[in-house]
């Protein structure tokens, strides 16, 4: 086989691996956002938000427990994605979570929606993406 065909095959594998990594991280953002909604539902159920009752709530309030389970699952998936991907490409994608959380909060909790808040979220996502782009593997 010629070396040109060789390097084309290597390049194709690299692109496929990158696509898989990006797909996994997008799934991570969805899991992370779903986790946040569950954690908020759990927090709303706390009767007294003291240190100890909150700590106990992690195991006694089902949505809170489920929310942190999703968070753990997301962390494991993200580590898997990092195994064959570059951090500087994958990390900025994580900031998509802010977009999903905002959207889901308007939907589930009827948060107020206004231009200042939307602009703020877009600017934060951009800022986090810019920060993450500088990350090293």
């Amino acid at each position: 086989m010629s070396s040109a065909a060789d390097s084309a095959a290597v390049e194709a594998r690299r692109v496929a691996a990158r696509r898989k990594g990006i797909g996994l991280v997008v799934i991570c953002t969805a899991l992370g956002a779903a986790g946040q909604i569950l954690i908020k539902m759990g927090a709303d159920r706390l009767v007294h938000a003291t240190l100890w009752s909150t700590l106990l709530g992690f195991i006694t309030i089902p949505p809170l427990f489920a929310g942190y389970c999703l968070y753990a699952l997301m962390t494991v998936l993200f580590i898997f994605a990092l195994k064959d991907g570059e951090l500087s490409i994958l990390y900025p994608i994580i900031s998509l979570t802010y977009v999903w959380v905002a959207g889901l909060s308007f939907w589930f909790f009827h948060d107020t929606l206004n231009w200042a808040k939307l602009a703020g979220i877009v600017i934060i996502v951009t800022g986090v993406a810019v920060l993450g782009k500088d990350a090293h593997k």
């Binding site: 992690f58 959380v101 909060s105 808040k117 979220i121």
Partner: protein, 117 residues
Amino acid sequence: MKTPVESMLLVLVASFFGSIGAGFLKAGAAKLHGGFRYLFLNFKLALGVVFFMGSSVLYVMGIKHGQLSVLYPLVSLSYIWALVWARVFFDEKFTSRKLAGLCLTLLGFLFVGLGNQ
């Protein structure tokens, strides 16, 4: 309902503790050698986990009152703390790109704060 300032402060303190936790995890991971069982004997890793748990408790207390669409974006402040720790403890360079990211994130906070009504 307007998000109370105390809730925002709790989330900000949680993000601060979370970034300290991440710093200890990094310091602990750097010393990781000699098999899986040392994972449980690693003082810095254990401290990192404790800080993460403390941060999670404060976060949940913080988001009990107020809107998640205001409070969750505040978590991104932990990236800014992480930049400080990276510069001070791990001698990572502070680039102009990082400065740009930091300024954008802070500007975003300002807008989210303005939209909090």
